[in-house]
């Protein structure tokens, strides 16, 4: 192809001048654009975390007036291994996260497939699914506490309709965690449905036609076409949901306060009680750091997986 050599236009000249002279200046300026946000994050997240790491090596009961932290070494950490409350809390947390996430993804996948069919009134359904996501967690907690009430609660009334006897729910050590998980699923399942449905809708239609021509059954098409293609979206959704499930605090605080007898005492709740109710700052910060390391390891595994997908 023959190239036409043009005389430099005014705009072209400006572009060249800009590339040469102003490039460095703009580079500096763009760093300046970044600076406020990064400084903000340094001061508000990195500094408190480092301070918390320091505090975790001290013993300090802040409720005693004018008390100061006293250096202890790794005592707070070794104490955790023998702390039955902490060990119980780890168990509760992992059980809560694992069960909620499993149910959310199995149900979420089924319902996402369902709502990606051609339905009338899909807008209405979407708005309905938005309600739990946007409800203030504290309101959801207090509201579900009233729904689970053993005498006046709607839940007991509803199971009564199918002939089941009223249950204790939040007051029972064996049912409380299940009830808390139910609330979590109610509030977060729509998130999973929305994300997976968006992923499914973005899949190329042709490939399913090809699968059908090749004689794939509905299940085979799902297992060998839909699922593998959806994997990147599933990984993103999993990362976000797992991280958020570990963070749960408001709902449990308002539903059960971690009770009865520690049955729903997730790590956030235990750290809250230790640090902000009993003011054992050293112990609470040590727990925080163990919790933090757990979560960072898990999320970095997910993030690495995501990066590998992007490279491909």
């Amino acid at each position: 192809m023959a190239r036409v050599v043009e005389a430099p236009t005014r705009a072209g000249l400006r572009w060249r001048v800009w590339r040469g002279g102003r490039y460095q200046q703009e580079r500096l300026l763009s760093a300046l654009f970044l600076l406020p946000a990064l400084l903000f994050l340094l001061v508000t997240s990195v500094y408190p975390l480092l301070y918390s790491l320091v505090l975790s090596f001290y013993t300090w009961n802040m409720s005693i007036p004018n008390s100061r932290p006293v250096f202890l070494g790794i005592g707070n950490y070794t104490g955790l291994v023998k702390n039955p409350q902490f060990l119980n809390s780890i168990q509760v947390t992992f059980l809560f996260v694992a069960v909620s996430i499993c149910i959310e993804f199995v149900l979420g996948m089924a319902l996402a497939l369902l709502i990606t069919s051609r339905l009338r009134l899909i807008g209405l359904l979407r708005t309905a699914l938005l309600v739990p996501i946007m409800m203030t967690p504290v309101v959801a907690g207090v509201l579900w506490r009233s729904l689970f009430h053993s005498t006046y609660g709607v839940v007991n009334w509803a199971i009564g309709l199918v002939g089941l006897p009223p249950q204790e729910w939040l007051g029972s050590a064996s049912q409380a965690l299940g009830a808390v998980i139910a609330v979590e699923i109610w509030q977060q399942l729509p998130v999973v449905i929305f994300i997976l449905a968006a992923g499914i809708s973005a899949l190329p239609v042709e490939i399913f036609d090809a699968a059908r021509v090749d004689g794939a059954t509905g299940w085979q098409a799902f297992r060998y076409v839909t699922l593998p293609l959806l994997k990147p979206v599933i990984v993103v959704a999993l990362l976000l949901r797992v991280m958020d499930a570990f963070k749960i605090f408001d709902v449990i605080f308002t539903l059960t306060q971690g009770g009865p007898g520690g049955a729903t005492e997730v790590l956030s709740m235990l750290i809250y009680k230790t640090g902000l109710k009993f003011f054992q700052i050293g112990q609470a910060t040590a727990m925080s750091w163990v919790f933090l390391v757990f979560i960072l390891v898990i999320s970095l595994l997910f993030i690495r997986q995501l990066e590998r997908q992007e490279e491909r």
């Binding site: 763009s30 505090l55 339905l119 938005l130 203030t136 504290v138 509201l143 993103v236 959704a237 809250y272």
Partner: protein, 286 residues
């Protein structure tokens, strides 16, 4: 709307049309019922609030609960706190976050640096709020900032920034580069391009980002309960005070809860177009 696209062969199961609608209806009812219950309870007269069997459709309406909530509880003060703190933190987060996202979307800085900054920003959002809550509490008490609006605003900006940066980055990267190049020709500086060209074009994305940031601040409870006692106390902290099983103040709780949740749902319904993008930090687009 994107979700309405049909994928007939993606499904391992087949449902007849009526069953499909039945399942969809059931899903909608389960999702909405608790909110319906909240709203209905808020307009019931006192003697219909806690009954066995529960009254699903109130036969009498009363605004007594709303009246009680506003009369007794210093509510206007707390409502103002919630509004001031949420609006201020949203404005600040969106401004600082968009600036940073714009700088990261431009390729001035080396790739490795931008990549590590983004990863670090993401990680600051990953750790549970409780893990910074305690050092935060100690530090703020030490510098005497407990129970101030500023303390909560700063906290919410910090929490919202990673979200805004990631989301706006996606919106900026989607923008055709020609428009900005044209602005360069016209001699616009980086700041002029950002404020006069890029931001107006990204306005829909910016609005959605702002809604999400607002909802977060509006709903936040842990830091609000820990850092405030009266001056800067926000609505979620007030609501948590209705937790008691003994006195069953469900009527007032429902009135306040409805007041908190209803505006958020209305706003969020408006943000539906970019909902998934917002929910996934910009990782999945509709």
């Amino acid at each position: 709307m994107a979700v309405a696209v049909q994928h007939p062969h993606a499904r391992p199961f087949r449902l007849s049309r009526p069953l499909l609608y039945l399942a969809a209806a059931l899903m909608a009812v389960l999702a909405v019922f608790p909110f319906y219950w909240l709203a209905m309870t808020s307009i019931k007269p006192g003697n219909q609030v806690a009954t066995n069997p529960p009254i699903l459709i109130p036969t009498q309406l009363s605004l007594q609960n709303y009246h009680d909530v506003f009369a007794v509880e210093d509510l206007p003060h707390f409502l103002a706190n919630s509004l001031i703190i949420s609006l201020a933190s949203t404005a600040l987060t969106v401004f600082l976050g968009s600036l940073a996202a714009y700088a990261l979307a431009k390729r001035y800085l080396p790739y490795r640096l931008r990549h590590s900054i983004l990863l670090w920003v993401l990680i600051t959002r990953i750790y549970p709020p409780i893990t910074t809550a305690i050092p935060y509490f100690v530090l703020l008490r030490r510098i005497g900032m407990s129970d101030t609006h500023q303390a909560l605003i700063v906290t919410y900006v910090a929490y919202g920034l990673p979200f805004v940066i990631w989301l706006m980055l996606g919106f900026f990267q989607d923008m055709p580069t020609e428009i900005e190049e044209a602005a360069v020709m016209d001699g616009c500086s980086l700041w002029q391009r950002f404020s006069l060209v890029v931001i107006p074009l990204a306005l829909p994305g910016l609005a959605v980002t702002a809604i999400f940031a607002f909802v977060y601040s509006w709903n936040e409870f842990l830091y609000a309960s820990m850092l405030t006692s009266f001056n800067a106390k926000t609505l979620p902290v007030v609501i948590s005070g209705y937790m008691s099983d003994k006195f069953l103040r469900w009527g007032e709780m429902s009135a306040l809860g409805t007041l908190m949740v209803l505006p958020v749902i209305v706003f969020a319904a408006g943000a539906q177009r970019y909902l998934v993008r917002g929910l996934t930090f910009g990782a999945v687009k509709e």
